[in-house]
């Protein structure tokens, strides 16, 4: 349905950001549907508003009319547009529910899993190691680098170690807050190779502004090469080193501020 609709839509969000996940298309189409419906009403009302301002400006010798707006016919001037707006609301609500179901409620069977741990102020990504299983010894843990295989269905498990964070990947059109004490799951399917930003979208303290990470979407072969090049031990020690470096930097920042 969304594929079909997309052929008639301007694709406003795509002007600035590519669609790198499967459901990005749906969100973009929904955005465009709303833009068209709301934009129509907005332009209409604003145009009418300016017309009235111009038409009924004060001119000498002209008296205003006495209109109460209480008669049935006059009230219809407001009520009929509102029935139409209600209809537009329904036209927005239905695709919204579809998109919401696809993005946040329904989790399709996963090809791959990834564990995302947020903390002040870094992202730690637990990738499945060469054996394809998450949660065992050969997991590859990387800091601020998420490596994904193109065209694979991912399920993520989002956790937080301290405060609230929000895992936001604009090119995926995905955002999910991380809550300490909860594990929140979701899904995405990268469909475009490339390298993009991951941002933290929830205020999480002093260095919230630089809690950036990158997502790398690679083909199967590139990903395997990356896997081979990163032994878990190396990744872990690197993680600790960067993390300590980062914290000490922040301390300095704090002192300066």
């Amino acid at each position: 349905m969304f594929d079909f609709l997309d052929r008639f839509m301007p694709g406003i969000l795509e002007w600035q950001l590519p669609r790198a996940s499967e459901y990005a298309l749906q969100i973009d189409v929904l955005f465009d549907i709303i833009t068209i419906l709301v934009g129509f009403w907005f332009v209409l009302v604003l145009g009418f508003f300016f017309y009235l301002i111009f038409r009924y400006r004060h001119r000498p010798g002209q008296k205003a009319q006495y209109i109460t707006g209480e008669t049935h016919k006059q009230k219809q001037a407001i009520e009929i547009p509102h029935l139409l707006i209600l209809a537009c609301d329904v036209m927005i609500i239905v695709p919204t529910f579809l998109v919401w179901y696809n993005v946040k409620i329904d989790i399709p069977p996963a090809d791959e899993e990834v564990r995302i741990v947020s903390q002040q102020w870094a992202w730690t990504f637990h990738h499945a190691g060469p054996n394809g299983m998450l949660g065992d010894d050969d997991d590859i843990i990387s800091v601020n680098e998420l490596h994904l295989k193109k065209d694979r269905q991912y399920t993520y498990h989002l956790e937080s170690r301290d405060v609230m964070h929000s895992f936001s990947v604009p090119v995926f059109r995905l955002k999910q807050d991380a809550i300490p004490g909860r594990v929140i799951s979701g899904h995405f399917k990268p469909i475009m190779a490339g390298e993009w930003d991951i941002q933290c979208a929830e205020m999480c303290g002093i260095a919230h502004g630089i809690m950036a990470a990158r997502v790398f979407i690679e083909t199967e072969e590139e990903h395997n090469a990356w896997l081979a090049a990163n032994t878990p031990a190396g990744a872990a020690s690197e993680f600790i080193a960067t993390n300590e470096l980062k914290i000490s930097e922040e301390k300095e920042d704090r002192n300066n501020g």
């Binding site: 409620i105 004490g181 909860r182 594990v183 929140i184 799951s185 979701g186």
Partner: protein, 164 residues
């Protein structure tokens, strides 16, 4: 509200007292009869909260004269109460559960219960492992416990606060 006829305040008071006795006795009876499961829950809830609502109604209606007050007042109170329900049920979807659609809380209810039980049975000293990080405000809040046995309390605070 002079001039209105209302039942004797003393009568209402004795009804309230009787209800009060029932509400205290309810759970005790449940204990004595050794009720378990649903019947116990029903008995405790109805004696405790059903009667609380009844008592509140009596106080409102007769002591606060809501029965003879202008209609505005009960409307104000009912509006506030109903908003409370809106708040409760809107919030219940996630604050009231330990797991839901696509999310699960990592807090362990079993461990908490065990810890609570060990505390209730006087075992104040034989629990409390797994304190992840120190209580950063640990020194500030022990004033209340300083009458006697303060060391004991201090221990208790630190343990229980982070021991999940």
């Amino acid at each position: 509200m002079a001039g209105h006829k209302h039942p004797s305040y003393l009568k209402i008071y004795f009804i309230l007292l009787a209800l009060f006795v029932v509400s205290v006795a309810g759970p005790e009876i449940a204990e004595k009869l050794g009720l378990e499961g649903v019947s116990r829950t029903v008995l405790v809830l109805s004696t405790a909260f059903g009667i609380a609502i009844w008592k509140a109604y009596l106080v409102c209606a007769y002591f606060m004269h809501l029965k003879v007050e202008k209609i505005y007042a009960p409307y104000i109170l009912l509006a506030c109460l109903s908003l409370l329900l809106v708040f409760f049920f809107g919030t219940a979807t996630d604050a009231m559960f330990s797991n839901g659609h696509n999310w699960v809380k990592s807090y362990s209810e079993e461990a908490a219960k065990e810890e609570a039980q060990s505390r209730s049975h006087g075992g104040h000293d034989d629990h409390g492992d797994g304190h992840s990080d120190g209580d950063h405000y640990g020194e500030d809040h022990h004033d209340e416990g300083d009458h006697d046995g303060d060391d004991h309390n201090k221990e208790e605070d630190k343990d229980s606060h982070e021991a999940h």
